[in-house]
Subunit: 234 residues, 6 copies
């Protein structure tokens, strides 16, 4: 049995607080258990050189952890020591959110997503994606970009295999003991946008993968209800 | 008259929330008006090479702003582009807090202070110092370092001269129109630990400086009451 | 029909040349169609600080492209501009190969894998993994590390969905038109070590994923025959 | 008594040699005791992007120490290791000199100040400011920018509190034993442009601050006589 | 006697394979003994800012070693650690090739030379120059730049003094024992384009220099025959 | 005829001022015409890791130009932009001075040479070597390292070919019009330690090289007289 009597296919307590910051057009604080991430979206009236005169927008994302967000303090990522992990994660966030939006409806603007982890307890990258979707929707609204620019709702969750058991939404403790772990991004039809599975300690089978996908879908659909509430709460 | 009918020698609404983070031995969220800073203190059992076998502790500080903390998004400070402003501020924070502590009572440990600005509306560096003092006290307690290691209570506030009027605790709007501005760090006897005055647009006189110091002292003494409450609230 | 009458589940012409370099204990040149990668393995008698006195080895990987390997010249990755893509890929290579080896049988040594792309035409990361497995085996032999240190044979291939058709081992042209693409690392039992699927332009379904996995397995098993030949050819 | 029978409110022997370099429109060598700084001013017909078409000039400063300028050799500041101290100092130099000049009379030009310490024996930042004022005036003359662009004469000096005694213009030995030290920039009316006071080892009182300001004013006024001579000497 | 009965004025077995890469307009693999270098030339329709509207081309070169090219693995040159040696070599390559070409016949194009060492056994910089001349000629032909743009054929070789004996085309073993070593670039008239002589362990005399030049000329003239064959082989 | 009626084989007015800095054990200011370089030598009681317990010293050099040393201001070389030119020069300085000294007589010490150009008018690298030899000798004396550690006197000068005429010790104007230029380091027997010749605009012949060497020898021998005087002047 997991901590706090959580069932294997149950997500942690989840909260999405919209309009968390005063200065940004779109922002949320998303919490999954003890994991807390500020997702903020800023929109600027310019695009990178290769998109000028394309009448096409651009979306990019950054991800970082506060040094004090982790049990063992994390070094700030100045200079060349930028961790591969952060770069990998922010590429994933950007790729996923670009799947949710029709950038041709955004004019020549840059949509900048910032996901900053205030406290980390597993699942920070998937929480970032789920929160960023809400912050993005809020920012588009603030800039009066038409609703149709959002082409699909997306959400994300992690799944793991721990001692042979498949478990949804791992916290840090569970994650560090997992044989395999998965990050999953899906849309509201249950189609897969991104699937990353790593047999960190043990390879996994296609059968296991099937269960992973069904657990993940359940979790993501629950988070999507929270996303909708946060967007209505405005 | 200032926004929200604030008198010239009145600070903004101030809040200090202790134990804001789960993983760090000492942490607070400090708010002054819309300015919000997370101050966290981590303690490690090692010192830089030049202090080894000195039976002496070390204290160092870092300061950064979240990109989404400012009205115009701030670029992350990777690589060589580290802004001089942040470096200057974190040096000030470290210097000030080293004045509050007797490092010879801390054994060979490094006390790492992290001040991360979640939202900026003027006075982030002085709020960082005021908040960090509380986080530091909490962390020492958690590590059972004797009370006597805190040799004086310190607090900090900003003051400015705006169109000839001296004003306490400027918000961003006031600050950007100021002719001169001041950052002040004092101890609980009203003695000065750090005084930085800049005639950004106009030189100032010793007479003006006197009023600046008395306003500052009033503000810092009020913040010191909040510090005490936060420390008792444990 | 694909270029050169290739069937959808057919890999490109593949060659693995063992002992390609004179100075390294293990090395190959691997070619898949026009894609050419030098995989070299170097072994040093030291480990990173955190493994000292652990009687445990370490394995790490680096990946880079020659500037002249791509149709449009690629900038060298000096300094802070290190591309996220390369970092992501070398993390994948390292993770995959660590799955093939029992580092506790390697003493306190660092196994350094270098994958340098001489010519790129799609599938450079999966070719790197497939080639690196052979170079790794050669290097272990040269250092007389027991055969049992290799705990499983691994291979890797890419798969894509192009206009609704699932295709194995995409070349650059096919890849740039793909709706979704997959990188797959498997062991010789057909179990999955790493699975990365991205709906770059369109989400994909679990049904499609199933076919992707079966094509991938076929391709990887064929490459594993080549790996074995290269190892026998010594 | 101080070294060489210096009174507490007495500056060290000071020399300003104008036109020290052949290639720059304005330059001096300034010496205060053993401290030697080359201050050079270069003027270019361009401004940073944000000032284009503003009909406004720009002034910026850099400060560095030769490696051989200090008793213990100082590392060159390449790369990310740029010392916070140097950045802080060059920001102070730039801010101070911008107070001396009306940039709207300088057209769209960049005035670049370089202060390079040849030998350091305390007070290098204040010597830099005092010397840079002369170099700036020389450079404006060389570019036939009207005299009215200089809106006030500025000078700078350091003061310290050593074992309870207030002392003007500390050398390195005195400075390293000081309880508090101050850098002061004033104009020719004795108004304050910049005041930085740090109770490095002990807080200081407003009374002490008063004496510090009067000593500082005396020293700066003496240096201003030297500045005038150097400018007449042309 | 040297390894493999080589006479002192004899070069190692040399091979130049033209069109070694598919994507670049000009490329070769050059081998001198065990030394192997890929020389590639790319041409782009743009020049650096200072050459815009000059109707003049630009030529620049980069040189790097694969980490696995040397007996002791060479670290990749990311970030600030870029080795002085590589920079020195690529400056030499660029300078030498600019001597072979009339850039005013190349329009506003940038000719980018990349020399990447696959395997190093002495003489990599001179092999790079000799190979790059062929790759450059091939690339000009591919871009239909007139033959007259090549103003002279150039080639390069190393010479050394080992225990008093002058030896042509040192391999790594010979080079590491040499008292003095020389890199020589000549044109097809035997005139000198670049001469670098270093008395690494012992100064050398003008008499020795004379013999060095005559051995070098012999070697370069032999390599020039190979260059011609490679260019005819197209 | 050259500026100031200089004959083609005549050096510029040369001055070497020993003990130019107070803090370093060895230092000079060397002037050749308008070229001015501070050469300083510092000695520390430690060596790089690879020399520990070798009873062998180490010598390394750095070279830089003050930004205000050149007619067009030179950017400071922070970060990755470190110019290849400076690196090349400091490698040359280090290599040359290592030829003058027997490091086995210096114990495990690091000899750090700093050459900082105050004003540049051609020949800064050769002036650096000539000046550094004196500073090195002074520093060894200050550390009571035996005279026999200096195994040969070295000096350096530049030579050029300008419109067919061979000229000694070029100033900046002459140098920028030269067809070929040479940097020459010799010992007091006239043997060559370093010879770098570049046919920047035109190849040169062995005959021309001979005259270059004889002019260079004359100049270096004259500078060696100055070196001796500076060392006696102590």
């Amino acid at each position: 049995m997991r901590a706090q009597n959580r069932a294997n296919n149950q997500i942690r307590e989840a909260v999405i607080i919209p309009h968390y910051l005063d200065h940004m057009p779109g922002s949320v604080l998303i919490q999954l258990g003890k994991t807390k991430v500020i997702c903020a979206v800023n929109i600027e009236d310019k695009v990178p050189p290769f998109l000028r005169n394309s009448n096409q927008g651009w979306l990019t994302a950054e991800y970082a952890m506060l040094p004090s967000s982790t049990p063992v303090r994390t070094q700030r990522e100045y200079g060349v020591s930028r961790q591969g992990r952060s770069i990998e994660i922010q590429r994933l966030i950007g790729r996923s959110l670009r799947n949710a939006i029709d950038l041709s409806q955004c004019k020549e603007r840059t949509i900048q997503i910032d996901c900053d982890v205030i406290q980390a307890d597993g699942g920070t990258r998937t929480a970032s994606i789920t929160g960023a979707f809400v912050a993005l929707s809020l920012a588009l609204k603030a800039f009066q970009i038409p609703d149709s620019a959002i082409i699909r709702q997306i959400g994300s969750i992690s799944v793991g295999i721990v001692k042979g058991e498949i478990m949804l939404d791992l916290d840090y403790n569970e994650d560090s003991g997992a044989d395999a772990d998965f990050n999953l991004v899906m849309d509201n039809n249950g189609e897969i946008i991104e699937l990353q599975g790593t047999g960190e300690k043990k390879p996994f089978s296609s059968n296991e993968l099937e269960t992973v996908l069904s657990y993940g879908k359940k979790g993501i659909f629950e988070l999507m209800e929270l996303q909708k509430k946060a967007l209505l709460a405005i």
